[in-house]
């Protein structure tokens, strides 16, 4: 495969991705409730600034401002007809910034969830999901994205639909899920389940992993879960900068740049190759993360206790993997088979 990301992965044993998009844009004046993707045409200068802040902090990869740029999400803003256009422009702006950086920087076309629940429980069919993702993928491809980057997915059906759409667009891709419910995704997928799902795809991603979720500790437990499956595929770790706290009418994430630096080094020791942040991760966090990844030596794979000690405790006792895979219900279990 000859894409910028695969080439970088051949020569480097870790890469740094970017941080938050939403948190940064809100700081630049985005009103909550507005679609960030509309800024691709309304305030292209601010989007360039966002991208450049990640590149300047040392990121090898940054994600485009197109997370909610699919027809399903844009419909909430009556902009469903602009999915392809807004996605294309998000990548074009990214291309400009990456090409002006003087080094190889990967433009990753962000693709977020549709926000719909799949049939039969919800309204979304596989065919429609593929169509929605395909439209966005073509836009990102036209705009010059090096790879597509699926993120914050909970349902395996949605991950598979996106993979199929990316194959239709003929694009290499990465894809992360969000493990926010007792160490699993909202739909119950464990880290081990995800490895199995990814490896069974006809067009598996260049790299896979976890983003967002609860806190840095939980995210690293998930990365350890991936690594325990013995996968050879590069693992992505994009955790939040701590947990949001409410003080005097304002919200801030409690993860300091120093804590995120610690998280980055530990993520690499856990087995992650591509390391970045998610919500609350600002340029100052990225700078510290980059410095730590560049200067500190690799260490042995940390234990769960060491992670909890350095980054804080876990949100749940178990994560559905390994021998202690949580409680089970005693069933009468006599239903017609």
């Amino acid at each position: 495969m000859t894409n910028a990301l695969s080439r970088l992965l051949e020569t480097r044993d870790w890469l740094m991705a970017d941080g938050a998009t939403g948190t940064n844009l809100f700081n630049m004046g985005l009103s909550s409730g507005d679609a960030p993707e509309l800024w691709n045409t309304e305030h292209p200068d601010r989007i360039r600034t966002l991208y450049k802040s990640a590149v300047d902090a040392g990121s090898d990869i940054f994600l485009t401002n197109s997370f909610g740029g699919n027809a399903s999400r844009l419909k909430l803003h009556d902009a469903q007809h602009r999915a392809r256009e807004l996605s294309r422009i998000s990548a074009e702006l990214g291309r400009e910034v990456a090409d002006a950086s003087g080094r190889v920087v990967v433009v990753a076309g962000s693709v977020g969830p549709t926000g719909e629940i799949f049939a039969p429980m919800g309204p979304l069919t596989h065919e429609v999901a593929v169509e929605i993702f395909h439209e966005q993928a073509e836009g990102l491809k036209e705009g010059g994205a090096d790879v597509l980057w699926l993120e914050t997915i909970s349902a395996p059906e949605e991950y598979r639909a996106a993979a199929e759409a990316f194959a239709l667009a003929g694009m290499p891709w990465c894809g992360t899920m969000s493990f926010d419910t007792a160490g699993r995704t909202m739909m119950g997928v464990t880290s081990a389940d995800m490895v199995d799902m990814v490896e069974a795809l006809p067009n598996p991603p260049v790299a896979f992993g976890a983003n967002c979720g609860v806190g840095a500790s939980d995210l690293l437990r998930t990365v350890l879960g991936f690594a325990a499956q013995g996968t050879e595929r590069p693992i992505i770790a994009k955790g939040n900068a701590g947990i949001p706290k409410y003080h005097d009418g304002h919200i801030h994430y409690d993860g300091t740049p120093e804590l995120m630096a610690e998280y980055a080094v530990m993520a690499r020791d856990c087995g992650a190759t591509i390391i970045g942040g998610c919500c609350g991760t600002m340029p100052e966090h990225l700078e510290k993360m980059h410095e730590a990844l560049s200067t500190r030596p690799r260490g042995p794979r940390p234990t769960l206790d060491e992670i909890a000690e350095k980054l804080g405790g876990f949100s749940s006792a178990a994560d559905g993997t390994g021998e202690d895979d949580g409680p089970k219900r005693q069933r009468r279990g006599r239903r017609r088979g």
Partner: protein, 235 residues
């Protein structure tokens, strides 16, 4: 699971066994079996309200507990809620006819500026599954929407949801407005959403923060029971 136990004829079970089987069938999201079970109990002379509370709500409580404890996840809960809905469709007209007491009513919506709704939808489904009447205001609700809905539907509970750190403070705007208008204490206010926590719920003056849909249902039941004990009529 042995062969001879594979086929269960619901109508051959006695009441107690049938209710136990319905708990399992709800757990497995078997809608047709739940509908059949409801009809059998009704034919046997059970009052609609007893079918609702003992068979359906009882079964959904198990689903809710296992969801809370991380044993069941969203897909299973949605299936269970769907099966529950099948049973409720049969019971609803009968409950109205017999003037059975209401479990309670809730107005729910995602706050202004926030367009996320999966969590809220899940709470709606679980609340309906527990027998509550739910008025869902959808996403992006300014304070006026909440106030109008409270005025119109007179629910027991107001539920607010937010997924963004930037939108969660709006919950306080709604509660403060209710205080100003002197109607705050007429309702139980429950809040939820990924970035919230108990501390936040207290800080803004909500009655409770609910970590997930299962906790929301349990909390709602407790508050409504307390309200009834105080003799505040809601029917």
């Amino acid at each position: 699971m042995s062969e001879e136990e594979d086929d269960i004829i619901l109508s051959e079970l006695d009441d107690e066994e049938l209710v136990q089987q319905m708990f399992d069938d709800l757990y497995d999201g078997l809608k047709e079996e739940i509908e059949e079970g409801v009809n059998i109990l009704l034919e046997r002379g059970w009052a609609p309200y007893k079918v609702l509370t003992e068979a359906l709500v009882g079964g959904m409580t198990i689903v809710g507990n296992d969801f809370r404890d991380g044993i069941l996840f969203v897909p299973e809960v949605l299936l269970a809620a769907n099966a529950m809905k099948g049973g409720m469709a049969i019971l609803k007209p009968l409950l109205a006819e017999t003037g059975a007491p209401r479990m309670g009513a809730m107005v729910i919506g995602t706050v202004k500026g926030d367009i996320h709704d999966i969590g809220k939808n899940l709470v709606s489904m679980m609340m309906e599954g527990a027998g509550f009447e739910v008025v869902d205001l959808g996403i992006n609700n300014p304070v006026e929407n909440y106030l109008e809905a409270l005025e119109e539907h007179k629910p027991d509970i107001l539920g607010m949801s937010a997924l963004l750190t930037t939108t969660m403070p709006y919950m306080k705007v709604v509660i403060d407005t209710m205080v100003e208008q002197g109607i705050r204490d007429d309702y139980v206010v429950l809040v939820g959403g990924a970035p919230l926590n108990e501390e936040f719920g207290k800080a803004i003056g909500a009655n409770a923060y609910c970590r997930d849909a299962a906790v929301a249902v349990e909390t709602a039941k407790q508050f409504v029971a307390r309200k009834h004990n105080q003799g505040v009529a809601t029917v």
